[in-house]
């Protein structure tokens, strides 16, 4: 009968939802609260929190800054090579972050450009600057995709009207398209930021895993798991879970 199908599909959904909840709750409740709080307050976790926040905020701002013009060009203009470019922008999204990290490492560590940047004081390899670069490179496509679809969602006729009312292209963007895109840009920024906080693979390759130097929360989780300090790992994981849940 018709309701069997409904019951069956809803049951599978409930089972999966329960599984996800159990996994998350298992992490959060693993340590006794007292131990968890002690770890939260430890110098190492405090460092990781601070480093994660600083790097992710900076990389998110960079993503916004770069995504806006690129997304606008892709959403509004036609130019030769646009479809190839659209595809290129999606590659880092399909690319495993680890591979992106190796690519960045080779570029900044071995290539002449990277070497001259390092000589000029912009060292990305095994530095906190590398964490920012890793997050930026891996997250840009996500920000770009949200921004592009936000701009596409603004009817270009708003800009047409603005131009008949005396605006240049840039003024029409600033006075009309951008204010109409706030919600989309905000949502995209939150996603980008939360992905930045959780970024692991690319940062591991480019910035390395050095305790108290490039130790963001995911790297702290990794380092403490490797060295068997489970309660510290759990503390980092708990913070990351809270951030993901809040950012949804």
């Amino acid at each position: 009968n018709s309701s069997y199908f409904r019951m069956a599909t809803v049951a599978v959904a409930l089972f999966i939802a329960a599984f996800i909840v159990m996994i998350l709750v298992g992490v959060v409740t693993h340590s006794p609260p007292a131990v968890l709080i002690e770890c939260f307050l430890s110098e190492e976790i405090q460092f990781a929190i601070r480093l994660s926040i600083v790097t992710s905020v900076i990389s998110t701002l960079l993503c916004i800054l770069v995504a806006m013009p690129v997304a606008y060009a892709l959403a509004r203009y036609t130019f030769p090579g646009k479809s190839v470019m659209n595809m290129l922008m999606d590659i880092p999204m399909a690319l495993p972050p680890l591979v992106a990290g190796v690519g960045l490492l080779l570029f900044f560590g071995v290539s002449p450009v990277g070497k001259s940047l390092a000589a000029a004081g912009l060292a990305f390899v095994f530095t906190p600057l590398g964490i920012i670069m890793a997050q930026f490179f891996v997250n840009l496509p996500y920000m770009l995709r949200v921004t592009r679809s936000t701009f596409q969602g603004v009817n270009p006729r708003y800009e047409h009207v603005a131009k008949t009312l005396g605006c240049t292209d840039a003024q029409a963007f600033w006075r009309v398209t951008l204010p109409m895109s706030w919600n989309g840009l905000l949502a995209g920024s939150v996603i980008t930021w939360s992905k930045g906080i959780g970024e692991f693979g690319a940062g591991l390759m480019l910035a390395g895993a050095t305790r108290m130097k490039t130790e963001t929360l995911p790297l702290s989780l990794f380092l403490n798991m490797s060295t068997g300090k489970l309660e510290y790992a759990i503390a980092a994981a708990t913070i990351l879970i809270m951030i993901s849940v809040v950012s949804l």
Binding site: N155, R157, Y158, H160, V161, A162, K163, T164, L165, G166, C167, T168, Q171, R175, V176, P179, M180
Partner: protein
């Protein structure tokens, strides 16, 4: 005067092909056509949103073909209003003057004047999302008018509104045109707007302008099967015209208002034919004898089909129909003046 001189533009699936039109100063000009006829591209090309692929646009003698939209001084109003949702009505109307860096007090005065003209003074502090469709469209018109544009372009301004609002805003447009004397180009697919508003009408199809004329001319003297069908001329008789203004249609000789020799179509509106069971005096009219095929009431109107060698369709009001007393099978006389029979050459029509 706004002159569109041989303008072509293609844009995806829509296009304009070699369109020429000239709109007089202060004229209310309506462009009528089915969906996909290229009406919106025409307006957007005039406004400067797109550069034409070929041709020129002149506004009051100035060639504005390559002038950017912001320097054309042409106002644009879309069907969907396109009010900036993040600005209140006052800021929307003042938007253009602010672009010109006008003095805030001056902007305020102008905005109030314009809002007053459109009867939306009480809405100045509201946001577009809280307004009805009619109020939004009034605000959009005020936003364009406050710039005192040399021409105002209206892209189906009434199509998104309900019947009552449409009627009242139609009256409003007539009043505003009277009051401001602005040259208006208004595109639509709705006939009702034509008779109430237009000084002249252009009919477009597939990127081409097919006919231009007064509403009267377009509705009574179509120049092609397309226009005749589009404006509801249901009687289209194929025949052979002669130089003296008569057309041979089968056995009938029809006196028409214009003379074109050779293969022609005769267009007769179904509302311009008199029907009677008793013989009708000629008085210079065409009188045809036939038999009633069917009678179909349709709302307040009645559609009568008559077989008279060729089929005729006659539309009567219910009152007019009852007066004639005709019924299916009756022998009837049809009469129509030569001025109701418009002839156009059917030789050059496409399939």
């Amino acid at each position: 005067m706004l002159v569109i001189d041989s303008v072509s533009k293609s844009l995806g699936e829509f296009s304009l092909s070699n369109v020429s039109l000239s709109v007089e100063d202060g004229e209310y000009f309506i462009v009528l056509g089915p969906t996909g006829a290229g009406k919106t591209i025409l307006l957007e090309t005039i406004a400067g949103v797109y550069s034409p692929n070929a041709g020129r646009i002149l506004l009051n003698g100035r060639d504005i073909t390559e002038v950017p939209a912001r320097e054309r001084n042409i106002g644009m109003v879309y069907q969907d209003y396109m009010l900036f949702p993040h600005l209140n009505v006052e800021a929307n109307i003042g938007f253009g003057l602010k672009s010109r860096r006008a003095d805030p007090a001056f902007i305020r005065g102008k905005v109030e004047e314009s809002a007053d003209l459109l009867n939306i003074s009480h809405l100045l502090h509201r946001y577009p999302g809280t307004l009805s469709g009619g109020e939004q469209q009034r605000s959009a018109i005020a936003r364009a008018l406050v710039m005192e544009p040399e021409a105002l372009l209206l892209d189906e301004p009434l199509s998104a509104l309900d019947v009552k609002t449409r009627e009242s805003l139609r009256a409003e447009l007539a009043r505003i045109h009277e009051a401001t004397g602005t040259t208006i180009v208004h595109i639509t697919h709705n006939f009702e707007e034509v008779f109430d508003l237009a000084d002249r009408v252009a009919i477009m199809r597939g990127g081409d302008v097919i006919q231009v004329g007064t509403p009267e001319e377009i509705f009574r003297r179509p120049n092609s099967d397309f226009v005749a069908g589009f404006v509801g001329v249901e009687n289209l008789l194929r025949g052979t015209g002669s130089a003296n203004g008569t057309v041979a249609v089968g056995d009938l000789r029809i006196r028409a208002e214009n003379a074109i020799p050779g293969p022609v179509s005769v267009a007769i509106r179904p509302e311009e034919i008199q029907i009677s069971k008793v013989p009708l005096p000629e008085n210079g009219r065409n009188v045809v004898f036939g038999r009633v095929d069917s009678v179909r009431p349709n709302g307040g109107l009645v559609r009568v089909s008559v077989e008279a060698g060729v089929p005729f369709r006659v539309t009567l009001t219910r009152q007019g129909f009852e007066e004639t007393g005709v019924a299916p099978g009756d022998a009837v006389y049809l009469a129509f003046r030569p001025s109701a029979a418009h002839v156009y050459s059917s030789g050059e029509e496409e399939a």
